[in-house]
Symmetry: C2
Subunit: 299 residues, 2 copies
C-alpha cells in the first residue's frame, strides 16, 4: 500500500479551467477536480477559486502541492506576474495566499516546465539526462529537464523557446515581437497565418488540419512554412543546449501524420551531424497538466 | 611567491597560428610562444607542431595543459572532429597524442567555450552565475559559463549559438545551412552580405567599418540588418537560458561605436522585461585565447 504521505497534489492553471489532481509517485490518479477559469475577474476571485479547489481535497493526505501556470512568473516569490490566458489577474501572490491556508510545501513553476517534468517522470522512454519538451497547443511552450530537474533560468522563466525569432521581421506574435516561431507553429500561429493568406477565420487546429487533409493549397503552404520554422526552432535549441531528446506534446501533435515526416527530413539536413546522432525526436505521452505540476514535489 | 605547481599552460589553436601561454591563477603571463598554422597539411604534421610548441616550455613547472580549438570536437575522447580553419586535419586524437609526451592533466574544449571561461576568470566584472560570451571574429562563437563552469553540452558542442537560424531561408552560412546569425553578424557575414549587395570584395572588418564611417549607404544597410539579426540572436539566447550577463569579445567589438547603441535599443524592445531587467550587456576584456584555455585547469 502506498503511504498516505506519498501522495502529491498538482494544480494546472489553464485558460479555460483550473484542474487539480492527486497522484502518487507512479502516477496513479487518486482524485481530480476542475473549476472553470472565466469567472475570475481579478486576483481576489482567482485566489478564492484556488481555495475552493483545495477544499475539495483532504490535505492531511498530501505531501506537497505543485502548481503550474503560464508565464511570466516569479518562482522565487511564487508570484504570477501576468497571464495571457487570464488577462484580469496580475502580480498574484499565490505562495503567500497558500501559506495562509496550508503548511504543506508549495512548488511553483511555468506550465510548460511542469509538462516537461511530467513527461520525464511518467514516460519511461523520456527518462534521459537532457530532455526538451515542446508543448504545441494554443501557443508554443517549452521546458528543459536537465539532470532530472527543471532548468528554471531566472525566476522560472527558462526555455521560452516559443518566443525565439526564426523569421526576422516576420509575423507579429502575441508577445508583441515579430517572427517568433510561435507565430508559425502553434494553433494561434497556423490559424493566424492562414487568415492572413485567405481572410478565413478557422475555429481550431482540427479545422485547419481537415483542410490540409483535403489538399487545400493555402493550408498546405501555411503548414509547410510552419513546419520549416518549427524545424529551425528545434535546430536552434539543439545547437545551443544539445539535448539527447526532444519531445512534442499538446493538441497539435494529434495531427502528427501531417507534419512529423517533413519535420524529421528538415532536421536531418539542418542539425550538425554530431548532435543529430545523439538526438531522439518523439511524440510524448498525453497527460493532464497537473501530473507534471504535482511531480515537482518528488525530490 | 606563486608555487611552481600553480602555473597553467594554455594552447589556443587558431586559423593562422597556434599560441601557447603559461599563466598563474591571477592571469600573470609567465611565458608565451607561437607557431604558424598554415604549414600543417595533415594530422601528423599538426601533432608534431603541437609537440614542438610544448617543448618550448618547462613542463615540470606546469600543473595542467588546457587546449581550445574550433569545433566540432569530442571533449570526452579529446578529439578534434574537424576544423573549418585548418581544413586538412580531421579526427585528430589530440588527447591520445599528448598522453604520450606528458603525464600532466589535459583539458580540452571548444575555443569559444574557453574564451567564455577566460572572461569569467580574468574579468572581475564577469564573475556572474550565468554568463554568455559571444566571440565576434571571422565567425560568431558562443560559450556559456554556468555556475562557474563551461556548459559543455554533448561532447563539448554546447552553445553553438552562431549557428542558430534567425532569417528563415536567408543567406547561406559556412556550415551549409541558410539564415544562421553568423551569416549576418561576423566578419564573414558582414563582408559576405556586402559583396552580395555591391559585388565588392573587402579584405577585412576594418575596411567594412571604414565605409560605415564614411556613410556608405550599402555598408550601413548591411550593418543595420546585421545588428538587427544579432539582437534577435541574443534575444533567443536570453529567452531560452536567461543569463544575467552577455559579453561580446573579438575583433568586431573594436568597432562597437558603430553598433552598440543600436543593439541595445533593439534589445530593450524585444527581450521580455522580466529578463531584460536581469541582464547586463557589455564588451568583454581583450585577452589572448590561451588564457581561457589554461583556466580550464583551475578547478
Amino acid at each position: 500500500m502506498v503511504s498516505k504521505v506519498e501522495n502529491f497534489l498538482g494544480i494546472d492553471v489553464g485558460g479555460t479551467s483550473i484542474k487539480a489532481g492527486l497522484i502518487n509517485r507512479t502516477g496513479d490518479l487518486l482524485q481530480d477536480e476542475t473549476i472553470p477559469t472565466e469567472r475570475f475577474s481579478n486576483n481576489e476571485t482567482f485566489l478564492l477559486g484556488i481555495t475552493s479547489l483545495l477544499q475539495k481535497f483532504n490535505l492531511s493526505n498530501v505531501k506537497s502541492i505543485g502548481i503550474g501556470t503560464p508565464g511570466p512568473i516569479d518562482i522565487e516569490n511564487q508570484i504570477i506576474l501576468s497571464s495571457a490566458n487570464i488577462p484580469n489577474i496580475k502580480n498574484v501572490k499565490l505562495g503567500e495566499h497558500l501559506s495562509k491556508i496550508t503548511t504543506l510545501p508549495i512548488f511553483f513553476n511555468n506550465d510548460a516546465n511542469c509538462a516537461s517534468l511530467g513527461e520525464y517522470h511518467f514516460n519511461e522512454l523520456s527518462k534521459t539526462d537532457s530532455l526538451i519538451v515542446i508543448t504545441l497547443g494554443t501557443g508554443y511552450g517549452c521546458g528543459w529537464v536537465y539532470g532530472g530537474k527543471i532548468f528554471n533560468g531566472f525566476l522560472g522563466n527558462g526555455m521560452e523557446a516559443g518566443h525565439q525569432t526564426v523569421v526576422l521581421n516576420g509575423a507579429i506574435c502575441g508577445c508583441g515581437n515579430k517572427g517568433c516561431v510561435e507565430s508559425y507553429f502553434s494553433t494561434r500561429g497556423l490559424l493566424g497565418r492562414f487568415k492572413e493568406k485567405t481572410n478565413l477565420e478557422l475555429k481550431d487546429a482540427k479545422s485547419f488540419f481537415k483542410l490540409v487533409e483535403k489538399n487545400d493549397e493555402d493550408a498546405i503552404e501555411v503548414l509547410d512554412f510552419g513546419v520549416l520554422a518549427f524545424a529551425h526552432s528545434i535546430k536552434n535549441i539543439v545547437h545551443m543546449i544539445n539535448p539527447n531528446k526532444v519531445v512534442m506534446v499538446g493538441g497539435i501533435t494529434k495531427s502528427k501524420d501531417f507534419f512529423y515526416d517533413k519535420l524529421i527530413n528538415h532536421l536531418k539536413n539542418i542539425i550538425f551531424p554530431v548532435l543529430y546522432s545523439n538526438l531522439k525526436i518523439e511524440i510524448g505521452k498525453e497527460m493532464s497538466g497537473f501530473y507534471g505540476a504535482a511531480s515537482q514535489g518528488f525530490e
